[in-house]
Symmetry: C2
DNA sequence: TAGTGTGAAGTCTTTCACAGCA
DNA sequence: TGCTGTGAAAGACTTCACACTA
């Protein structure tokens, strides 16, 4: 049976918490422990883990080691993946140095920009390469994922080029829809703030 | 009837597209136009706009001016809101300069950090203030929203302090759950990349 | 005629509730 | 006893389909 997307999003959080627990010396975790940590129900946790075929032990819970391994495989982070960042502006730079990416096996191995003042420079430990070299570098470095951190005006063009040279997934920070047939996950900072503004406005009306 | 959360998230995208259309000289838009732009169904668009009480005209569509106004009110972005950023690291700095925030009425009016090398300095047009001054500055500047861009270890503490001095909503970039009773929207970059990794792994299995 | 608004149906997701196991 | 696994029920969201209308 296919894993529902809402479940996938929680799996990532289960993984985060499970690793934290393992770190702090725990060996097992129950569905209600995890539920409390994430503010969901225990039935939800059991159902979610059920999709993965993870088996817990009645009276005990789930073995952390096995759980973490299974979560990693299901999420596709059981191995390293090479990532390219396109756009070395402020967002691109923040992502180049984001320590949790390498922690999870996401290796930033190439960074591109068009700005001649940036190209060739070393930023956050990465030498910025010219956008013209996108195709050749991507091929060579066997890059599977791309992060789009360019202005909206060129985002779709960049997305097409990445898709065309075999990049399998795009994380899109540009505020527009990318019409490509590669997997895309959007991170729209304005939308997130608007969702928050809605939540605030909402509770003003219904106090 | 309450607006479902998935609808709220789309409302933000409708607003983005509607403003783009108005800019490019359109006066009206049909549900199927919007549907094509966002890759959803036209029925979905009509249902979503129905929640807002927006009325379209059969044969014509929705008047953009009215639609935009109604979307703004529903999302709570019909006026400016003051925002504080806590944490002047790379993510904090990217957000300080993010041009779409002021475009949508989100005004960054205060930035805090603990690092003595940063405090007092001007970054991206903002003078970094010491975290000790959080409470006094927030009160004075009537700040409604907070952006948490600090390390996980202090995120919850910062969240509590913000909530305690009346901040109504938090946009959380720290990779942990914030257990406060203020509205929180999480932006977890690792989770987003993991969702993408899953999508890629998924289609490897079912090609 | 091109497009809305909306009951009703369908699908997807969550929760309940409880038998069963270590 | 404490916790899992899961049918069945409930609930949330989406789509269908069509009467209606400017």
């Amino acid at each position: 049976m296919p894993i529902p997307l809402p479940t996938v999003r929680r799996l990532s959080l289960y993984l985060r918490e499970a690793e934290g627990l393992l770190q702090s010396g725990e060996r097992t975790v129950s569905s209600s422990d995890l539920a409390d940590l994430l503010a969901v129900t225990d039935a939800q946790v059991r159902r979610d883990l059920g999709y993965l075929g993870v088996r817990g032990r009645p009276g005990i819970g789930y073995r952390l080691a096995g759980l973490i391994g299974r979560l990693r495989t299901a999420l596709g982070v059981d191995r390293s993946r090479n990532v390219a960042i396109v756009g070395a502006g402020r967002i691109g730079r923040a992502l180049m140095a984001y320590p949790r990416f390498p922690d999870r096996g996401f290796r930033v191995v190439a960074v591109f920009d068009t700005d001649p003042r940036l190209v060739g420079k070393r930023l956050e430990g990465h030498v910025i390469q010219p956008l013209e070299d996108l195709e050749s570098v991507i091929d060579e470095a066997s890059i599977e994922m791309g992060i789009i951190a360019v202005p909206e005006s060129v985002a779709e063009d960049v997305a097409r080029r990445l898709a065309a040279c075999g990049v399998r997934g795009l994380l899109n920070f540009a505020p527009c829809r990318l019409d490509v047939d590669t997997a895309v996950v959007d991170v729209d900072l304005t939308s997130s703030l608007e969702e928050l503004a809605w939540a605030i406005a909402e509770e003003e009306d219904t106090p």
